[in-house]
Symmetry: C2
Subunit: 84 residues, 2 copies
């Protein structure tokens, strides 16, 4: 079973990395871009036999405890074939 | 108009960062996870008035020239409301 976890800074948190990229892109002459914010994501391959419910619970815990910093970041879990 | 660009290492390229996270997660006692690979993504806000075609061309160029290293990485562009 495959899943992804996306992690990004909360909207209220400044994203200097995204701002630096935006600035560089402007310097390079790209026009039409208002804002760039950078996030990360994880592609996770799970053992077969996990139910979608258990997989989601596992990944929510993993995201909250390991992959994201919940003070500054928000995250969401997507499991292939389990639209929720 | 909002868009996202995802960038990840090609499958054939080793992902030591993902492996380190996987190892840490195993040490913490998480079970049921076979593999973790880490990628990055960019949330991009475009000026209003760009057509989806021009926006896509702009973002493909930006991804290829700036956001990704096409030797090692692959990328894909998604534009909100323009399923392709």
């Amino acid at each position: 079973m495959r899943a992804t976890v996306h992690v990004r800074l909360k909207r209220s948190v400044l994203d200097p990395q995204g701002q630096a990229i935006h600035q560089a892109v402007r310097t390079l002459g790209y026009e039409g871009i208002r804002e760039i914010r950078q996030g990360k994501y994880f592609e996770i391959e799970l053992e077969e036999g996990l139910s979608p419910e258990r997989a989601r619970a596992l990944l929510e815990r993993l995201a909250h405890e390991v992959l994201a910093n919940p003070v500054l970041e928000e995250y969401w879990v997507e499991i292939e074939g389990d639209a929720r």
